[in-house]
Symmetry: C3
Subunit: 138 residues, 3 copies
């Protein structure tokens, strides 16, 4: 069985980290599928998906890390094309990747106790985001 | 239903970024599967998969970024073993990862308008590449 | 068909890289599923999954690379919360990601000849690890 849906939320722009675990868990609950994988996918190229322990310290550390390795205040060739100043957003998104696959059994995501699914907003402005949630299983 | 296939193409060596979106879309079209996930996988350890907006600026920015964080002109322990000078290729590939999973519905990849599936060649020479495309769905 | 299982092993702490390919191959062999994908997932936020050529040089290069971009000897905001000194572990894990999806056909993982599935231990102490292995196919 395959069920495809999406979750929608707003972000405050670059550096914003959204815990989408409950949104994903809800889609699994409503799917009627007991065991399988959920593929979470961002249809866009200025954000990324990963998992973290969602606590205030890391919500500062993670943006600081990306600012260090891919600074927002230098010039990128991408900006020559579009002049929207978000070359850094595209590079960070390419590095982290747009997809995350998580197994679930008995309707429950197989995450660790201190592990949440997070959407990393890299774009340089507020965005309304839709993320695809596709559930495959039995 | 599971269909496993592969796509083949050539690269110009390190820094080459190949847009393989049309190749993947074609395999989905021919699979007879309407909705599901496509798993794209590189059977090798000197290249990576991600998505980007495929435009000329980023095709320069991305290789420059990898050159900055994993330089090609320094010595790696890997080169002690094989003396083929591509230690940097292996590190970049391990960082980006060999797999990408993309949902599709009604035979159509659920990518954003400005988002393409790309193969990042990290090896230090021209390569003929085969990438696995596995489609699961109904 | 969906089969969910786990593999268990011990690590020596940060920098330890475990080749789990044979453990995964064994689960596929025992699943009775011939073709499909295996989703490997870490239920925790201080380790990562990727593939490498498992040879002694890279087993040194990879930890050195992570030490360079996310040093273990500087202070992170995460450590303010928990005081366990593993902020660097969390950042490295978020960067690499907890999931890996590998296709298999005729019961055989579609890896390259010089490519192994590896568990990257980022935590700052020895750990007993359980990793989820979910097989979907026919």
């Amino acid at each position: 069985m395959v069920k495809t849906d999406q979750v929608n939320f707003s972000t405050k722009g670059n550096g914003d980290i959204i815990d989408i675990t409950a949104l994903i868990a809800d889609k699994i609950h409503n799917s009627g599928i007991s065991s399988g994988t959920v593929t979470i996918f961002i249809p866009g190229s200025t954000a990324g998906l990963t998992t973290i322990e969602y606590e205030p310290g890391l919500l500062e550390d993670l943006p600081q890390f990306f600012e260090k390795i891919i600074p927002s205040n230098i010039s990128y060739n991408h900006d020559r094309t579009w002049h929207d100043g978000n070359g850094f957003s595209h590079l960070r998104a390419a590095l982290v990747g747009p997809d995350l696959t998580v197994p679930f059994t008995d309707g429950k995501l197989q995450l660790g106790t201190w592990q949440q699914v997070v959407f990393l907003e890299f774009d340089n402005r507020r965005r309304n985001r839709s993320v695809i949630v596709q559930i495959i299983g039995e």
